[in-house]
């Protein structure tokens, strides 16, 4: 069946990858480690009920993203339909042996359909589109041996969503929505000459700052007894607490 030729990956790219791969190496990059939380806090800006960042986080798009995954998991766990039918309802035909990619594709399509036309191109909608695939991949990696996660077959895929509890799913989606929103703000703000540095800062922010910020949201939700599926819409109510948390990172 002929040769299998593959594309080479440029050395420039490999250098970036090697430099950003471990925290040890990141310390070699002056300034990045120290400033990344501050960069993130400044990107988010002052938090209030009506601030742009909080509006995005609590938007209908974010809620739809969280609902998409929690809803699917609950249908598998508590619904009457066989798992194959649930998958079919989510656009994954029985002939598809490894359903993750198709599931994501269809979830994004449904998200676009469900959102009003004016909401589709908002920052939050774009962030949720970015977050959905990453969330599914993360969940697969959490509940399956990591080397098998990306090739999950139907049984494994279904099992992951049966095992994943709603709060884990919500936290995962929120993590990626927050990361994506911060990335977009940084992209809009930076000049081209900062490209490589920005990539490292983004990665560092996603690894260190975002989990802390997300954990704060999770803590507030638990304290106030908010179920995971309702978290996005309650976020504006916690603006003061979030501002107090984030202000310590700011200039």
């Amino acid at each position: 069946m002929g040769s299998q030729r593959v594309a080479k990956i440029s050395s420039g790219r490999s250098r970036i990858i090697r430099m950003s791969m471990s925290a040890v190496r990141l310390t070699d990059v002056p300034g990045i480690l120290d400033v990344s939380p501050r960069v993130a806090a400044n990107a988010i800006g002052p938090i209030s009920k009506s601030s742009a960042f909080i509006q995005c986080l609590s938007s209908a798009s974010t809620q739809a993203g969280v609902d998409a995954l929690i809803g699917f998991a609950e249908q598998l766990k508590f619904g009457d339909k066989p798992a194959d039918e649930v998958l079919q309802d989510h656009g994954v035909d029985k002939s598809i042996r490894r359903p993750a990619a198709k599931f994501i594709e269809m979830a994004i399509e449904k998200l676009r359909e469900d959102l009003a036309a004016q909401s589709r191109s908002t920052e939050s909608a774009i962030a949720v589109e970015d977050a959905l695939p990453k969330s599914v991949i993360d969940l697969l990696r959490v509940y399956l041996p990591k080397a098998e996660a990306m090739t999950a077959d139907r049984t494994q895929f279904i099992e992951v969503f049966r095992k994943a509890d709603a709060r884990k799913i919500e936290n995962t989606v929120m993590h990626h929505v927050i990361s994506s929103l911060i990335d977009r703000i940084l992209d809009a703000a930076r000049g081209d000459e900062l490209g490589r540095k920005a990539a490292k800062a983004k990665r560092k922010i996603s690894e260190d700052f975002v989990p802390k910020f997300n954990k704060k949201i999770d803590q507030l939700a638990r304290e106030k007894g908010i179920p995971p599926s309702q978290v996005p819409k309650h976020i504006p109510e916690w603006a003061d607490e979030l501002e107090s948390f984030i202000s310590k990172y700011r200039d």
């Binding site: 069946m1 002929g2 040769s3 299998q4 030729r5 593959v6 594309a7 080479k8 990956i9 440029s10 050395s11 420039g12 790219r13 490999s14 990858i17 090697r18 950003s20 791969m21 471990s22 925290a23 040890v24 042996r97 490894r98 993750a100 990619a101 994501i104 970015d130 695939p133 990453k134 991949i137 041996p145 990591k146 080397a147 990306m150 090739t151 999950a152 690894e207």
Partner: protein
């Protein structure tokens, strides 16, 4: 390109040492350097094992690790798993055009290996898109080395397009045109393996009787040998292996020569740990030995012993090939193994077991992967069908079953332009099919 086995072995040792000493991040850095050379050396099972270990033990690996996991799986005949990985990684690298292009190229390869011929246009568009991306990236980099890589990758895209025209669209002229364009670009970056790969592909087209306007055995042999010389001179084992296979097929009329080539192919496949290719070699060797025994060559041949040997080879091949459920090449060879096994059993007057094997072959050749209706697949399926029917005609009360079998394969006769055979014509139609008519 790092093709020095000793250097690669040192890196393997180093990553192992770092994992053992509890420094997985350092080990991952070494694995990151090791992936491409190990892939180029054709040591896919080893690469896959190292990547599995790395992925299990290190968090937040970048996408390249998964891309190489997919590449290793694909090279090992597990194209559906490779495709699943590539589709997911594609979501993760949306802001990285270079990796997106690399994934488009790999996806094309996976879909081709899975026999998804109806997606030929989509695959070609993906190659064109990847070509566009690499062409646009080139002026943006100041690094001469990166410029060279991007140009080489555009050649790889053209090469990929050529394979779709060759294997999916049956357009050998268009395929050759693409290979020549790719070869020119590989020439500009002085990529001997790229140039030789194109030579080999063109040789394969000239070797294929199906492409009647191009069929030229002598030309094919010259091109394949030229490619083999280059691959051997640069120690490009993957290329050597693939060319030995093509030369073996080309020389099937000279059994002794073909046998030598397939024995070499078997040995190299074994060294590289490629069980699918070993199985393929065994099926060809089985066929050649069976033919030799039938012709009484050499004169001293112990026919029962040869048959026992052939049966063993085929059984070994079948056991392995059954595992490659979604690899169209493996499925084709599996069908051929069942057919060959049927013939060996027939030669020993074991009609019932022969019939069982023809039916098993027919069952595999009815799988969805063969719905592409490539004429060669249809011909193979019809040969099995008629071989089974020929035996069933000798048995009692088989007419309803025969009618049912024929009824489910009527379209095949239409596609091949063959008469719907009366029982008395079955033998004649089989003979025509064997001649490739």
């Amino acid at each position: 390109m790092m093709r020095n086995s000793q250097t690669v072995n040192n890196l393997i040792e180093a990553q192992f040492h770092y994992f053992e000493s509890g420094s997985p991040e350092k080990a991952a850095t070494i694995v990151g350097r090791l992936m491409e050379p190990l892939y180029n050396l054709g040591r896919y099972p080893e690469l896959l094992g190292i990547l599995r270990n790395t992925i299990e033990k290190v968090d937040d690996l970048d996408s390249r690790f998964y891309i190489y996991q997919a590449r290793a799986l694909m090279a090992l005949g597990r194209a559906d798993e490779a495709l699943a990985i590539l589709q997911l990684v594609h979501f993760e690298v949306e802001d990285d055009p270079e990796l997106q292009a690399a994934i488009l190229v790999d996806k094309g390869g996976a879909l081709r290996r899975m026999g998804e011929f109806w997606r030929a246009d989509e695959i070609i568009k993906d190659y064109e898109e990847a070509y566009r991306i690499y062409s646009e990236l080139s002026p943006l980099t100041e690094s001469e080395a990166d410029k060279k890589i991007f140009l080489e990758n555009t050649a790889t895209c053209l090469f990929g397009e050529g394979t779709v025209y060759q294997y999916f669209l049956d357009e050998p002229g268009k395929a050759i045109e693409k290979y020549y364009q790719a070869q020119e670009a590989f020439g500009q970056v002085q990529s001997p393996d790229g140039i030789a790969d194109c030579t080999k592909q063109i040789g394969e087209i000239y070797a294929n009787r199906r492409f009647s306007t191009f069929y030229d055995r002598d030309k094919a042999e010259i091109l394949l040998k030229r490619a083999l010389d280059v691959f051997e001179s640069i120690n490009y084992q993957k290329g050597v292996l693939e060319t030995l296979y093509q030369l073996g097929r080309l020389r099937r009329d000279n059994q002794a020569q073909a046998r030598k080539l397939f024995e070499r192919y078997l040995e190299l496949a074994g060294q590289l740990g490629l069980i699918r290719e070993e199985a393929v070699a065994k099926r060809h060797l089985a066929e050649l030995r069976f033919q030799e025994a039938r012709q009484g060559e050499p004169a001293s041949v112990d026919v029962p012993e040869v048959y026992a040997n052939v049966t063993r080879l085929l059984n070994e091949a079948i056991t392995v090939l059954q595992l490659f459920e979604f690899d169209i090449w493996s499925r084709r060879v599996l069908v051929n193994c069942y057919y060959q096994m049927g013939l060996v059993l027939l030669a020993q007057d074991q009609n019932e077991t022969a019939l069982e094997n023809f039916k098993r072959g027919l069952q595999v050749s009815d799988e969805p992967v063969f719905e592409g209706r490539f004429l060669s697949d249809v011909r193979r399926r019809t040969l099995l069908l008629l071989s089974a029917i020929q035996l069933m005609l000798l048995m009692e009360d088989q007419l309803p079953a025969i009618e049912e079998l024929l009824a489910t394969h009527l379209a095949d006769f239409e596609l091949l332009g063959l008469p719907y055979p009366a029982p008395s014509q079955v033998r004649e139609v089989i003979a025509r099919l064997k001649k490739g008519e």
